[in-house]
């Protein structure tokens, strides 16, 4: 017991501070990836809902590929492929050096692309769940397309999207652990370093699991709170 306290403690040579710092990297990585995913997901949903074939098809392929291929494979693609592609683009514009993609940016990009594929499905479903009468009412009121989206449709859409987004968020948080394989020192990677250095893998992976669990529970309550707010004054059918 004293051994565990010593290893995970905050004194000199203890790993407590390192694990907490790494947790904040995990959180930052997940939040930024989720936001990027929201943008990609909204674009994909707009594509899927478009009456034109090409955007609909592209959005469909995007969703199918990144929801169907293991996330680890996507991460390897961006990690190894990203820097090579960036360097080539860089030289096209006359850049004299190599362009490297930092691991944190690679992680955000990977999580963004993967979660965007899932978020696209959530937004599409939520859009379709909005009562058709609302669209007609907008027209009757003479609102422009942008006005009706901003004032009427999106607020209602978010109401339907929140539970699904909560699930995607949990997925994002757990996926962020995979970014450890490309060397970013987030929570999982820090636990691995500690386990290797002290040869106490059990303590470190239990500690990592506990920290992920705490982050998941705390952030889930944020989603529950926003859901309750979004539905206030409404009666659940």
């Amino acid at each position: 017991m004293t051994n565990i306290m010593h290893i995970l403690g905050f004194q000199q040579g203890g790993w407590g501070a390192a694990l907490l710092a790494a947790s904040s990297v995990t959180l930052a990585l997940s939040v930024l990836g989720f936001i990027l995913g929201a943008a990609l997901g909204a674009t994909a949903a707009a594509g899927r809902l478009s009456p034109r074939r090409v955007p609909a098809w592209l959005a469909h392929v995007y969703g199918t590929v990144f929801r169907g291929v293991p996330d680890l494979l996507t991460i390897y693609l961006l990690y190894y492929g990203g820097s090579i592609a960036l360097t080539q683009i860089g030289t096209l514009f006359g850049s004299d050096g190599f362009v490297g993609l930092p691991t944190f940016a690679t992680g955000v990009l990977a999580i963004g692309i993967i979660s965007g594929a899932y978020q696209g499905e959530v937004y599409r479903g939520a859009y379709q769940a909005v009562d058709r009468g609302q669209f007609e009412a907008c027209k009757a009121l003479g609102l422009s397309r942008y006005q009706s989206l901003r004032l009427v449709i999106v607020p209602q859409l978010m109401r339907h999207a929140l539970p699904g987004l909560g699930n995607v968020w949990q997925l994002v948080l757990k996926d962020s652990a995979l970014i450890s394989v490309i060397g970013l020192v987030e929570l999982m990677r820090q636990a691995q370093i500690g386990a290797g250095s002290t040869r106490e893998p059990f303590i470190f992976y239990v500690a990592a699991a506990a920290l992920y669990f705490v982050i998941a529970v705390v952030t889930a309550s944020v989603f529950r709170f926003s859901e309750a707010r979004a539905w206030r004054g409404m009666v659940h059918a």
């Binding site: 203890g14 096209l92 060397g183 020192v185 370093i193 290797g196």
Partner: protein
């Protein structure tokens, strides 16, 4: 104006290789060195997150000699060469052997250490009972090394051997023992160390100094180095610093610094401190 920029870009694409070597000719004032940070005692990460080990001390020493400002970073083993190529850093010092296969992709300095590969097993296993031998076989001397390998084969028949993925250690075991043992590939040596202690693998094949450091820990009291060491052949000329082919000036500077470190006994001193034996390459 616009046209000239476009033309410059086109020229840059066309003369990609040329441009780089031209730029790289200037002596760099600051460089970034990457290591793995998970290969004690050569390079590892301590609790404060700081890198330490033989190669870290040597890297700092070489930088002082070159009068260059150095930043040392950690990078996963299998990402080292791709990342070097795309310019995430300038030099690799990560216990990497100079091998013909790697020389197709990147360049190396002269070796700064020569350290044989060998097996670690349980003391009470057949190979363990044989004990450690001070003999070193050069794989370039086919007859002698083949005889040594044939002697080991029956002792390892059907055993599970752990090696680090994408290393020469893996290539060695595949080539010489592929028909005799079951191979397990690990991302880091720390992971295969844990699995030797857990009894999931019967033997490890790795650099002997790294194995010796692992075996000095109390939970490995029942394990030992066993059999002879192997050098040369697919292990190449030893451990060197990897760099991009076009960075010729940097290579010259590093080679000169390594010469200095060998000549004044710095490498001997650092290696005896970290790996308890002298790994200075023979000139």
């Amino acid at each position: 104006m616009k046209f000239s920029r476009l033309a410059a870009a086109a020229a840059a694409v066309g003369m990609f290789g040329f441009m780089h070597s031209a730029l790289a000719e200037d002596a760099p004032k600051s460089i970034t060195i990457a290591t793995e940070g998970a290969y004690a005692p050569w390079n590892f990460t301590n609790a404060d997150g700081k890198l330490d080990g033989l190669e870290i001390e040597l890297a700092n020493n070489l930088c002082e000699r070159m009068k260059v400002k150095c930043t040392i970073i950690a990078q996963d083993w299998d990402g080292l060469i791709p990342s070097l190529k795309v310019g995430k850093f300038d030099v690799i010092m990560a216990g990497m052997f100079i091998t013909p296969k790697r020389l197709e992709t990147i360049d190396f300095t002269q070796p700064y250490a020569v350290d044989p590969g060998g097996f670690a097993v349980a003391k009470d296993s057949e190979l363990g009972k044989l004990g450690v031998s001070a003999e070193k076989f050069n794989l370039d001397d086919e007859a002698a090394s083949k005889a040594a390998i044939e002697k080991l084969k029956p002792l390892l028949k059907g055993k599970v051997v752990g090696v680090q993925a994408a290393t020469m250690m893996l290539d060695f075991v595949k080539k010489y023992f592929g028909d005799t043992v079951e191979i397990r590939e690990y991302k880091t040596t720390e992971q295969h160390d844990l699995d030797l202690a857990a009894g999931r693998v019967d033997a490890l094949f790795a650099q002997r100094t790294a194995l010796a450091a692992t075996l000095s820990k109390p939970e490995f009291a029942d394990y030992t180095l066993a059999g002879p060491g192997f050098v040369g052949g697919l292990f190449g000329r030893g451990t060197g610093a990897g760099l991009r082919k076009e960075d010729t000036k940097l290579k010259e500077m590093l080679n000169a610094a390594i010469d200095g470190a060998i000549a004044d006994g710095t490498i001997k001193r650092i290696s005896e401190k970290w790996v308890k034996t002298d790994v200075t390459p023979m000139k």
